[in-house]
């Protein structure tokens, strides 16, 4: 079954206005697969009828549910591994050195933007736990979806989620069993604060940030929105702070206010000196 063009256009426009995420033509399958469960829950057989109903009688809760269904991503622990190594091997040592010269606050402030169900901020906390006491890290985790934020705050993950990229030594060190689920230990949970935030709004509270994780987010945006988001991220950061992007993302050709620093097999970005004053 194929999605009607006007269904796709309506959903793409809604998602773009609410989240700035660009659903390009060709993403019809994504709309169909993400919205079909909502349609079925509403007692309808297909996504076209569901969307027709929404358009005839838009309701804030329903619109919110549609946006949520299309903006939440599958997520794993230590996704792509390399950024977390870059954080521990390069970013933290450099910041700790800078701390002694009075440049950085004793607490490392990190923003995990578009954190989904919390695997990224908790992975950051686990990676840092080997080199930094939890009281010295303040991780601000933000997402557009209330449902995802609630999951993150709960700190509870199913067995299937735990299998996704979490090293077994980290599991036994930082999690306990909670019925059929696993729950992350309190010291790390208290290092992470979740708050609702749209990347096109003013920066979240908790900054200015020494490190920003903005991974696998820019890929969904058009060029103008990428620039806008990067400019806002820049305003949320401390001079000399580090930005970590997804493997397929770069600031090059988007915003020349950043310089790329190679760390092992990955790259991190810093505000270019002329802009970091």
């Amino acid at each position: 079954m194929t999605l009607a063009p006007d269904t796709f256009a309506f959903v793409a426009d809604l998602v773009r206005r609410r989240s700035a995420i660009q659903l390009e033509p060709g993403k019809e399958y994504l709309v169909e697969s993400r919205l079909l469960p909502l349609a079925r829950t509403a007692g309808l057989l297909d996504v076209d009828s569901y969307v027709r109903g929404i358009r005839a009688a838009p309701h804030p809760t329903t619109l919110e549910a549609v946006v949520e269904a299309l903006t939440t991503n599958e997520t794993s622990w230590f996704r792509d591994a390399l950024p977390f190594r870059a954080l521990v091997d390069h970013v933290v040592p450099e910041m700790l050195t800078a701390t002694t010269s009075g440049m950085f606050a004793p607490q490392l402030r990190i923003w995990s933007a578009a954190c989904s169900s919390g695997q990224e901020p908790y992975s950051i906390a686990m990676a840092l736990a080997d080199v930094l006491a939890p009281s010295r890290m303040k991780i601000t985790a933000t997402d557009l979806s209330d449902q995802m934020l609630e999951r993150g705050r709960s700190g509870r993950y199913s067995q299937l989620e735990i299998n996704r990229g979490l090293p077994a030594p980290m599991l036994v060190k930082h999690f306990t069993r909670a019925g059929a689920d696993w729950e992350i230990a309190q010291p790390l949970r208290s290092a992470v604060t979740f708050q609702r935030h749209n990347l096109l709004d003013a920066p979240p509270v908790g900054g200015p940030f020494d490190v920003v994780f903005l991974r696998n987010v820019l890929i969904y945006f058009d060029l103008a929105t990428k620039r806008d988001v990067l400019r806002r991220v820049q305003q949320a950061m401390r001079p000399g702070g580090f930005l970590l992007l997804g493997a397929a993302e770069t600031t090059i050709g988007v915003d020349d206010g950043w310089e790329r620093v190679s760390v092992g097999r990955s790259s991190v970005y810093r505000l270019a000196p002329r802009r970091a004053a």
């Binding site: 794993s76 230590f78 792509d80 591994a81 390399l82 067995q159 299937l160 735990i162 299998n163 996704r164 990229g165 090293p167 077994a168 030594p169 599991l171 036994v172 999690f175 306990t176 069993r177 696998n216 890929i219 997804g246 493997a247 397929a248 097999r265």
Partner: protein, 127 residues
Amino acid sequence: MRALVIDDSRTMRRIIVGVLTALGFETVEAADGRQALDVLEQGIEVDLACIDWNMPVMNGLEFVVAVRERKDWRGVTLMMVTTESEHGQIVRALAAGAHEYMIKPFTPDAVKEKLQLLGLVEIEELV
């Protein structure tokens, strides 16, 4: 890369072999720890062993202990793949020398991510 898939369930071996083959591994199968040791003793070199815990003749934990006693088998990465999911059991397996632990059921992506952690599968440069 070659993987030794150790499970007394033929169905489970077939599933694991399917996932590993898709990731570019050659595979050898064994139905218990003893058979798996026989494979290694024949001099067949393996990079990875996926090991069920509960099996007849020799269980997975005994196999892990036996492999870790042999210096010439140090290059074998040991990953438990089991329904045993208690915190204490994972600790026991790691203490015995297992490198990773995967709890059944799992998805093919989960296997890939574990093998990336272990450095046996490349981390893609592109998402």
